[in-house]
């Protein structure tokens, strides 16, 4: 994504450096403090609380989207909120990820029949990890973050595989 501008996308220099940077990225996932509804209590408050303590994994909150890596969509997104979610996602710097937390953010949840509710936040922004539950327990959110780390890890592995394939 970056050194590739100098050395090309399949260069070893690029892939190796991305391997290092992906390691850094997945261990320093700062999320944007943006609680919409019920899930915010479980996913953001309890999560940073003494019992679950996401800080252990380097998952830490920043209030401004300019300094965030992950957006946790924690709650029902309706048509009025959709613009805000999209704007905040756009304002985050690359590389960035989205976690759809709970049934509402994934599909609309218990409110999916109401015409004002958006059927899942993936209609607005690309979602990387879906966490089921209404609301998911903080442990589930933790597991979701571990899955996100796995996903970041896979990026470089896929690049390596593509390189050996092209050779």
């Amino acid at each position: 994504m970056a050194i590739d501008r100098l050395t090309g996308e399949h260069s070893l220099a690029f892939i190796r450096s991305e391997q290092l940077f992906d390691y850094a990225r997945r261990n320093s996932l700062w999320y944007m403090a943006f609680g919409i509804a019920c899930c915010a209590i479980e996913g953001l408050m309890s999560a940073s609380g003494p019992r679950f303590d996401f800080d252990r994994m380097g998952v830490f909150f920043r209030a401004s989207p300019r300094q965030a890596d992950v957006m946790i969509v924690a709650g029902t997104v309706n048509k009025k909120m959709a613009e805000t979610v999209a704007l905040l996602y756009d304002q985050m710097p690359e590389p960035k990820w989205v976690v759809a937390m709970g049934a509402c953010a994934s599909t609309g949840g218990p409110f999916r029949e109401y015409p004002n509710v958006v059927l899942g936040v993936d209609k607005i922004v690309p979602v990387d990890v879906y966490i089921p539950g209404c609301p998911p327990r903080p442990e589930s959110v933790q597991y979701g973050f571990i899955q996100l780390q796995e996903k970041i890890k896979q990026q470089t592995e896929e690049r390596l595989a593509a390189r050996s394939h092209s050779d």
């Binding site: 944007m32 019920c38 209590i41 479980e42 609380g49 309706n78 015409p115 509710v117 609301p135 327990r137």
Partner: protein, 401 residues
């Protein structure tokens, strides 16, 4: 008697010319400051929907002069998800799930309101034990809910520690509620006719241990935050809602009691086991943020006392009355309300005799507190806005519904 029009002064100050989401309002207005040629321009700031301390998705359009707030307009609807509409398509025993997600921090009170309304409409007499269990879980929920308020209020002032200590105690309360109902937040435990299930074996020891611990923890919490000079300096005399304003805006719950009017549904419209319990109702004097803080702290203490009484005097018997599998209340209309953590949580049901309500209305304490905000915020500093919003403890889930 005060004319309400004297109380309401700032309404619509920001709304010269119509503006909707995305469209800028009139913007800057020049206001002469008395010095020739020197004038201050007002700044219009968007606070929210994404802001660390608007407690969800509240959006305040604030017009400031320097840091002083001149006018405020509250914009709602970022969490409007149609609880009232969807309830018209749910059976009566399913309404609790929606109410849980309305005021999501104190779900039990919403469920209780629905259950009371349906029981009154169908004239169901619930067993004594069911009433006692309901009262106990409602008070436990009140503790859990006020702890969230306490933690975020501390966070609003910049005291991180209080938030984390409050979360620790909340985890303990939530664990008990989970053992009873099976869920941490969305309980769906109180149903028309009683409760879903009996108390699990051995839970009374756990609850008593929690009550003992919480008594001392509460003193610690109060000493840490309320005993701090800086904190007192920030909340005393800030955001005063006097009695007339509180009545005019129909505030209920702790916000009303802080203004000096001791109206409490648990005592004045008794329901479930409250007539048999002993508890005090804290009442404030001036209605400033400090009074609201003190009222809520004392409510936690009283709630703890009630939980203890409930456990000690828990009667034997059934936990659920004999109710038909599908509830079909007779045609009619009913209003039932419970004293929730944020005020009067009322349920207004219009029944047409079928198994779903014809019209379901959810009256929430937070919406009315929200209206009062527009009125009391002007004149304060920007930093106070956060404190006042925090002290009224609005929950956007039940504002937008």
């Amino acid at each position: 008697m005060t004319d309400p029009r004297d109380i309401v002064s700032g309404v619509g100050m920001l709304s010269e010319g119509t503006h909707f989401v995305g469209e800028p309002p009139a913007g800057i207005r020049r206001v002469p400051t008395g010095v020739d040629g020197l004038s201050t321009e007002h700044l219009v700031i968007n606070m929210g929907p994404q802001h660390p301390s608007t407690h969800g998705v509240l959006r305040l359009l604030i017009e400031v002069d320097g840091e002083e707030v001149v006018a405020v307009e509250v914009t709602l609807g970022y969490l409007h998800r149609g609880i009232e509409k969807l309830a018209e398509h749910r059976r009566y025993d399913q309404l609790g799930t929606l109410m849980d997600r309305g005021d999501y921090v104190s779900g039990m009170h919403g469920e209780q309101a629905v259950a009371l309304a349906v029981e009154r409409l169908m004239e169901i007499e619930i067993p004594r034990k069911a009433a006692w269990i309901r009262t106990m879980v409602a008070e436990l929920t009140r503790i859990a809910s006020h702890l969230v308020w306490f933690g975020t209020f501390g966070l609003d002032t910049g005291a991180m520690g209080q938030f984390l200590y409050a979360m620790r105690d909340r985890e303990a309360a939530v664990e008990i509620l989970e053992a009873i109902s099976g869920a941490r937040m969305m309980f769906n435990y109180i149903r028309p006719g009683g409760v879903v299930d009996d108390l699990p074996a051995g839970i009374d020891q756990k609850i008593l241990a929690f009550c003992d611990g919480f008594e001392t923890y509460l003193d610690e919490h109060h000493a840490l935050l309320g005993g701090n000079e800086i904190f007192q300096g920030r909340v005393r005399g800030i955001g005063v809602i006097d009695r007339d304003t509180a009545l005019a805006f129909a505030l209920t719950g702790p916000n009303l009691r802080a203004s000096g009017l001791g109206f409490d549904l648990r005592r004045d419209r008794p329901y479930d086991a409250y007539p048999e319990l002993e508890f005090d109702i804290p009442v404030g004097t001036t209605g400033d943020s400090w009074d609201r803080y003190m009222v809520r702290m004392e409510e936690m203490r009283q709630a703890n006392r009630m939980v203890r009484q409930c456990i000690e005097g828990m009667p034997d018997g059934d936990f659920k009355a004999k109710v038909p599998r599908v509830l079909r209340p007779p045609e009619g209309e009913i209003y039932a309300a419970t004293e929730s953590s944020r005020g009067e949580t009322g349920v207004h049901i219009v029944s047409d005799g079928s198994d779903t309500p014809y019209r379901f209305h959810y009256r929430s304490g937070s919406l009315h507190a929200m209206q009062a905000l527009e009125e009391i915020l002007p004149g304060h500093l920007l930093a106070d806005v956060v404190m006042i919003v925090g002290s009224t403890d609005v929950m956007l889930g039940e504002v937008d519904r």
